[in-house]
Symmetry: C2
């Protein structure tokens, strides 16, 4: 079906992990996709090969200067046995936005989507079917020059690896406790916050760990300049429902343009909500809560889809949102998006690509 | 001499590169140092092995979330044949500052310096002797868990690789043209600017390339909040001499605490200069130039040691510093530091460690 890619099948398939205990990103399928880039030659030699270690020179640029980007999407097995991808072209368009910021050469989105379909097709038996499970797909590109000068690499690898995953949050879609971060900054305008690049995640780990030690599952990031405007929650976009209006931070260069964010905005508007993308301060959220106007808060992301926020703690002051229960809007979004993804809800927007 | 480390010597030594055409970070010696970290076990199994590729799982955490740090220092062969390291303990102390920010476990600086000495000793024949050349030493640590969750890795590798290098800037110590960056931001307080971590370098490449296309060798970074205070030049610290006073940006969380910066401050004070570490705005520099008070400007870093700035361009307005010639203070610093490093100037401060 995807015979334009060279495929070398494994001769020693792995045993499958327990579907009820998958976790996230721990197990990997039998194959991987690789394509190389060489300056002057472009992207070349796309191939599917048995999953296994890469021999990398210790001077490989990505290990020293982090020139890399990645994406994340999921494949689902529908009740009729067909395999569904959720908006894969959006991921592949975003790759090129990330590539531009990180000085990585552009890549053809159409080829990338075909590559995703080909590798999913090759390992189709790996897609788990238990409730809430899926096959997580991780495309990534990294600089491979064996060279220690700080400059764009002249060679890269584009790869796709895949992992059967359970629910992202161990608590499922129960509301999570979030700590409002005042010490660390995720990104600032002029930096790389809108690109999906490893450095953004590396710099976030410390805040996450300190919040975790205080009993919170993640942090709410504030802007790096005034330290008052809300940016993201953990590695998700964030939404608030205040007096029936849905508000989410506008994309101003420090925030990732999430695909679940985009899908949520689309659905909410379709359902008749007023959706506003604008700067929103943490003070406004706390004031709205005081006035009983803060109805819901939730994160959106590929891994969790929708993650309701039950508690926000800012410098020791906690507010409880919607009695620490999932609100109706969050629940509707979760049910609708996961339903479209798994094939139980009609895909009216044309978001599903079949493999 | 360093028999506490296991050493496996190569059986196929490489041919040596032309000493007059080394460049920077292109050639690597015959051996490398590796030490592993495993949660619960700590750092273990330090060893010197033949230089060669590492088999890394495609899910290795550093490739996705960039949890990593590095250092850079140099070894020099003195006229008497002895091998000199410049302030290696400072690098190894800084590793732990970077480690703390990036949630990487602490490492024993004494062991790291011994590791540097052992690997330099093993490849001592690789140290070039031509004027301006040295053996560049790159210690680095990266996260090795084969796992896609965003959290601190439970396993790491500490490695040291080495590269015989020529002069960092092809122009030698001639003054360079620098573009004052107004669009991109290197780092912001609360981020990772003070840590030596790949993400800082990845995010800097775009600005560097755009400056290069305009005819400038590097950028002068301004702060990410007010976009007026000077931070670094390229990947170097920066100094200005105004009316005889030496001014360098103070370390406030977004700037790397450079070892050449520290050495330069020490020497300048010893020589009787007034040295001030404070916030300094780009406007102040341009005003000082207008008033004929700006005498010199230079960058400091391990790779270049001292790099005089001959021209600063801000939004199309250029100023020429010291007639685009090397100033006496820059020259003295360069001669003194490189002299101490190579053994021709007396090491009064006790900066040299012999291998």
């Amino acid at each position: 079906m995807y015979s334009d890619f060279k495929i070398i099948k494994t001769t020693s398939p792995k045993s499958r992990p327990d579907q009820n205990n998958l976790g996230f990103g721990k197990y990997f399928t039998d194959h991987m996709f690789i394509m190389d880039y060489t300056e002057g030659k472009g992207w070349h030699d796309p191939r599917i090969v048995p999953y296994g270690p890469l021999p990398l020179e210790p001077s490989t640029m990505v290990l020293h200067y982090g020139q890399a980007i990645f994406e994340g999407l999921k494949a689902y097995k529908a009740k009729d046995g067909s395999i569904q991808l959720f908006r894969p072209y959006k991921n592949m368009e975003r790759i090129n936005i990330s590539n531009t910021r990180m000085c990585i050469p552009q890549i053809d989105p159409e080829t990338c989507v075909r590559a995703v379909k080909a590798i999913v097709d090759t390992d189709r038996d790996w897609i788990p079917t238990a409730e809430g499970t899926s096959l997580y797909i991780r495309p990534f590109i990294f600089a491979t020059d064996a060279y220690l000068g700080v400059k764009p690499s002249s060679t890269y690898k584009f790869m796709i690896i895949m992992s059967p995953v359970g629910a992202y949050y161990p608590q499922g879609i129960n509301p999570v406790k979030i700590y409002v971060e005042s010490k660390y900054v995720r990104a600032v305008k002029g930096g790389t916050g809108f690109a999906k690049t490893p450095g953004n995640y590396a710099s976030s780990i410390k805040a996450q760990m300190e919040a975790y030690e205080k009993g919170y599952i993640q942090v709410l990031w504030l802007d790096g300049i005034e330290r008052k405007y809300i940016e993201e929650v953990g590695s998700m976009n964030v939404f608030f429902k205040i007096n029936g209006e849905i508000i989410t931070p506008s994309l101003e260069g420090s925030i990732l343009a999430g695909i679940t964010r985009d899908s949520s905005i689309f659905l909410l508007k379709k359902w008749g909500y007023k959706v506003t993308e604008r700067r929103i301060s943490i003070d406004e959220i706390f004031t709205a809560h005081k006035n009983s106007a803060l109805e819901e808060a939730f994160g959106t992301g590929t891994a969790a889809v929708i993650s309701p926020i039950g508690e926000l703690n800012r410098d020791g002051n906690s507010i409880i949102i919607n009695n620490n229960e999932i609100g109706p809007t969050s629940m509707n979004l979760y049910n609708t998006i996961t339903g479209i993804q798994s094939g139980t809800v009609k895909d009216e927007a044309g978001w599903i690509e079949k493999v």
